[in-house]
């Protein structure tokens, strides 16, 4: 089992990704998808330094939904901010967030979240991963932003990946 399926979740993802890509549930595509799902992780295994443990599926789903909601909210804020630049320029600022997250997979996920949310841009990660610098589009309250970031993104990621 371990030998032929080194990362079962990756295989599952590739299998469904394949079916989605071909937009079909025919037996032929399923067979092809199965082959791809077995071969790709075997080829990828030497490239992955550490296997990423994934736990708490419920928390992962909640996190994805929350990020989706935050993206919509933040996109709306940025759109309003852009429309009102003339009268009230956005208060763009750099924020340094102390990080407790160390796992590379979790940090990659955090980078995805900060980039996908339009209001934040990942700017710098301390070499020892102890702090993260973000650029925020319209910063109202720095402490509140840091608390939101740590509670809503960092804590669930820590629980999921570490």
């Amino acid at each position: 089992m371990k030998r032929w399926l080194p990362s079962p979740w990756l295989s599952l993802g590739i299998f469904f990704g394949w079916l989605l890509l071909n937009n079909s549930l025919s037996p032929g595509q399923m067979l092809l998808g199965l082959a791809v799902a077995i071969v790709i992780p075997l080829l990828m295994a030497p490239l992955r330094p550490t296997p990423g443990p994934l736990r708490h599926w419920r928390k992962l789903t909640i996190l994805i939904l929350r990020v989706g909601r935050d993206v919509l909210r933040s996109a709306f804020d940025v759109a309003c901010g852009v429309a009102r630049t003339g009268t009230r320029p956005p208060r763009g600022a750099f924020v340094v967030v102390p990080l407790e997250l160390r796992d590379t997979h979790a940090l990659a996920a955090l980078a995805m979240i900060t980039t996908v949310v339009p209001g934040t841009v990942w700017s710098e990660l301390a070499p020892d991963r102890s702090a993260l610098m973000l650029h925020v589009f319209d910063l109202d309250d720095e402490a509140a932003f840091i608390a939101h970031f740590k509670n809503d993104y960092e804590r669930p990621l820590k629980e999921i990946f570490e």
Partner: protein, 112 residues
Amino acid sequence: MMPPLGELVVAALLLGSGIVVLLAATGLWRLRDFFSRMHAPALASTLAAWIVTLASIVHFSTRSGGLSLHVWLIIIVLSITAPITTIVLARAALFRRRQAGDELPAPLGDGC
């Protein structure tokens, strides 16, 4: 043949997405500094892309009958790959502006 209601929904979604992209473009033009400008195109690659994807799903699903979800892969791949270019751009801008001596937060840790 598509039902007229479906066509209406698709047209409204595409129009909405167009408005969002237009706002993103004006943001690029009107915002003052580089880092603020980085936020505007993110609108196009998230919200606008999501709305177009939704329009595409509605269009192909109502036309062919079955649920047609494959365009959904676009936003997944977009979300996975966008951080690469965004982070490289932000890092390059920080590096250049620090070299130029602009007023920016000090590098975290031992200057990396």
